[in-house]
Point group: D2
Chain length 369, copies 4
């Protein structure tokens, strides 16, 4: 199999190519009896959707989701939920040149050598467009976790290229095109993006995601640790090159006398662990960071080779998206939800719904909040 | 299931607790006909083994591996290879106190709340000792990859606490207790460790791992991307808090005109991708970094609570290990080998052994080499 | 997950309900480069389709399949192939009565107790209509196996109720509505069915399926034996109550001196094993039989209870289908193809494409051919 | 992977060869907190063990099980339970002849062609000895199901070669070497076996297994139906050629007006379904039958070929076991327990522990009881 299924018990099977007839996924394992309609899913798809500001790809797709199965009279039945998103932007184009060259930083080279052929239309299967079904499935997981455990998800952009974006308030996130938890610096970010666009260049981004209200005990001891599965999920997002949980790489230079979170009768005294100890959730906030590389499609000409190995030059024409990381926040939230959902069901399978008296050990707020 | 199996086609099922009768694993899916004996596995176990210098845990375990199945007359038969390592250090102790308190930074709290009970002997299942079977399985994967594809693995410590350790030569790695690719700074590292030990404190570490001679085309397009599976593997190692592939978090502040590796008739002009594009190996070196938090068991007293939620204090007596990261290099190598092995078999399943004419595109050396 | 995925490496994820908007599946793991279009799939769907004779359900569905992904310019790309079949017969009906009672022999009772709610429209997920995506996926597997290994599949009805149907020739199968490999007894079968319909009753059926040109070596030694996976596949077809491989239940009364197939320089002297020894294919024909119970929806009134446990009576009005087994032949063929396809890829993963010199040991024809 | 893992959530990974150093398994996913010791497992191993009567293989193995992990102070911890059985009968022998020829009815031919080499010692991996770890794992599943749901398992031999063995009482089963639920016919069975032994021949057997006190709702709607998973489990037992659930092949000739079990306020009026409807358990007894082929190792000379394809003759010297089916009863019970256990955990994952008010619908006794 070609790795298109995510999760063990809440299982999302993704299909589609950027410019084929449709993309979508099958969500298998959703508990029965939960109220669900397209209206629960569409808002997250709209958050991810391109074309919403001048800073992201101008491709205009409605990304309208259709539930094909698994829901009867407004409630999940326990059978697979198929979600379909028709591609409306399938115009035929001449992809001959793309098929013959390998764009630097893109998957052209690797797909060609893996499969011997590839679908070049809009990047085919390697397009970021394929995160849409993941976001749709994540919306179902978010709803179940919120209704059953009170779990919520909040992501934001914490760095854009060289610019660190201070956390001011989560409330700002929906009010700017960058998913920044910040109001002060937005003009500066816009100017930075405009300049990149003028220069025909691009930049990377850092995204922080937090889950609050996470049940204690999610994650497995050895290989399917909760943080391991989170790292798998996040590193699998297009263009991600690094993942941190809690203190992340800063932990390297920390002392043990500072790093290990002390416990008090009022709860954990800190959350440098990022809500995971020994691969299992502590009940504190889970905090994750991801590093996204700069967009590979830029107007600046770059060296490459064609399929015969002869040198050539590649440049991207027309408008482009100087930072793919801008749209990654809802994607990262969705994946964190999918991981927690899967482990919530796994925990229920092995240990039942028994929750031990945890006592007054509240989850500690993460450093950035 | 409790997440004790690693891989889809080269499948390692791990069992055991630190102070139980034995630890081990079952390796299912090894191709038949490969020469294999304990002598192929023991050297990597010896590299990981504690007690080899004054800078690591003084527990003295022989870690002698026994092959119980899957090998006949010195060759693998294609059936599961069971590996057994008897625990020789099982002395009975009074763990009453550990059972009643939650050591900061340890898995005590989460195991207790997940399962309602736990095996406290030496950390039970959460002990770093359980990486030994992973290392043993990794030795089998390394051998197959080396014999069939010429793939090799080389890891080293690149930072110890605050001290960045410059890469001088891979040849130095076996000659110091830190797995440093460096000869010049060893005295400084030793002094740093001795000081930490005197202070009853600990520090973190950064490990770099490189795979060379990797076949093109390993990894799946969407969810089981090669880098995603590597991140899963590495984040699952005890105490790891961050994982980077290629440029990692540095990619955030890079420009697209610099980051995307150009191609020339002589090969890739750089390797900021870390050998993975679109989740699939390029044939270049795969470069991975991991951040390891400071050892949680320290002599400095720390606040905690007991099972009733009442405040208490925890400190570790006797000798301890001021940096668990020191022994992580062979573990990280083993996991990288397991991921590549699994994907090599997956690639063979779907695409067969056909290798396309790649032309003169050699793998580029990683930045650190 | 709710068990909607079939296979490990050639993975079919099925979705949909009988009277929802659509049914379909995602086929993940198909090797790249195979020519594929709807025209390769539709013929098998048409064979399974109801409404083709007076002896099967008169529901008239076009069962038109649409390929949504995984194919570019007429060739598979190695990425998931999504197949969609829109339901054209979704007319709204009053299902109130069905929701309140449990039809004998149907899944109403078990779905209700498993999930606490169910989709009653046309049987919902338990409808035999959900075998259509399986048949569509099977057509892809059949094509790959035929092109690569020369494997072919041939099924037929060997018993209808009390009437044993002698095997005359496989050529007769497409020429009668029963999938009988027989021309002589067709009038007798038609009369039998007409009588059942008049009586408002139903009967069972026995189906035989044969795969020819099967590669040697498919199947795993212990748990995923080829015959075990075939039994899983066949017993999972709606209404199946028994599965046999080779001699089947007749083997109970056989002597070892007769049963074990001898080998000669010209090949196996018999095929009582059904083409599987020790769970692994011998290269002989694989022969499978399945027993299908009589249709549960009959006009004869039957006792049941409602959701409150009070006694009631259930009968099916309108036309019905006196033998669901009639349409099972293409379904069984498809499932046998899916099992062989999955194991062909598994074999390739572990053992590569190396085929040993088998010598002059041809596959033996099965007893019925 | 080579198919050595059984189950999704209660996962048994089996290893070992008949005459290697040891056999065993790793049981992953057992809920924590259950009392468990070797004494809970050994009795079922003793029931399966050879050498207990003159009618079974005289190989004398103690089959002493050792728990290596997953249990602390007499209770399961939720981590993997490794079970080890040392082989005591490993005497070195000359297997040269077996390596060069293919014994009719054995796996020699298929292992050789699958792997290119094989372990011939006592049949290696294909030996019935490898059912011992399955039986051990099944004992754990049986205990959990009995303690939590009151589920019990009862198997018996219902046919030995041509001799149908009437069901008299389950109490007789432990009192004869055949697992017959019968006291009257034992002398006749003994005489039959003695005659086979004198003739150097063998016979098959039919085994019936029943699970009582099964929770309603186990099994998945489409592919992982409970009966499909049971068929997979049973057909995977060495020498099994057929599996039936409930009415089995008799359903072919039944009328719908008879077959479908009616419901009354007192419960199901019959159990021709074998306790499964639509792939999901009804709460009635689950009834399974399996057909076992005659032992392939017989003293009667049989034709075969050597590895070069030249004709040769094979016969088994010394004492042998004229009916492998005799020892299959505890194996079939164990597998049925493993399937139910896995589905009990799956049901808990997706639907929680909520059990709906079933009303006065008791499970119906099976036909044979």
């Amino acid at each position: 199999m070609s790795g298109s299924t995510f999760g063990l018990l809440f299982r999302v099977t993704n299909f589609g190519e950027s410019h084929g007839p449709a993309i979508g996924c099958v969500v298998d394992g959703c508990p029965p009896g939960m109220a669900l309609s397209e209206a629960d899913i569409q808002p997250d798809l709209d958050r991810r959707r391109p074309g919403t500001s001048r800073h992201v790809t101008q491709r205009s797709e409605a990304d309208q989701v259709e539930i094909l199965s698994g829901v009867y009279e407004g409630r999940t039945t326990g059978t697979p939920i198929a979600l379909l998103i028709r591609n409306t932007d399938q115009r035929s184009r001449d992809y001959g040149n793309i098929l013959d060259t390998f764009r630097p930083g893109h998957a052209d080279y690797t797909y060609h050598h893996k499969y011997g052929l590839r679908d070049p239309r809009g990047g085919g299967r390697s397009s970021a467009r394929l995160t849409a079904p993941t976001v749709a499935a994540g919306a179902i997981a978010k709803k179940w976790l919120r209704e059953r455990h009170g779990t919520t998800f909040a992501g934001h952009l914490s760095q854009l290229g060289e610019i660190v974006v201070p956390f001011e308030s989560q409330e700002h996130v929906p009010n700017n095109p960058f998913f920044a938890a910040n109001a002060t610096d937005i003009p500066r970010l816009e100017a930075y993006m405009d300049q990149l666009r003028r220069e025909g260049d691009s930049c990377g981004a850092r995204i922080d995601v937090i889950a609050r209200g996470v049940p204690v005990g999610l994650g497995e001891p050895l290989y399917d640790k909760l943080d391991a599965d989170i790292a798998y999920a996040m590193m699998g997002v297009n263009a991600v090159k690094g993942v941190e949980i809690g203190a992340g790489f800063a932990a390297v230079a920390e002392r043990g006398s500072v790093h290990g979170d002390e416990l008090t009768p009022e709860g954990f005294a800190a959350n440098r662990s990022g809500g995971v100890l020994g691969g299992i959730s502590t009940g504190q906030d889970i905090t994750v960071s991801l590093a996204i590389k700069p967009t590979s499609s830029i107007r600046t000409p770059r060296r490459s080779v064609d399929r015969a190995g002869a040198p050539t030059t590649v440049e991207t024409f027309g408008r482009h998206d100087p930072c793919v990381g801008i749209r990654a926040t809802p994607i990262a939230e969705a994946l964190l939800a999918l991981v927690l959902m899967d482990h919530a069901l796994r925990q229920r399978a092995q240990c039942g719904d028994v929750s031990l008296p945890v006592g007054p050990i509240p989850a500690q707020a993460p450093p950035s909040a």
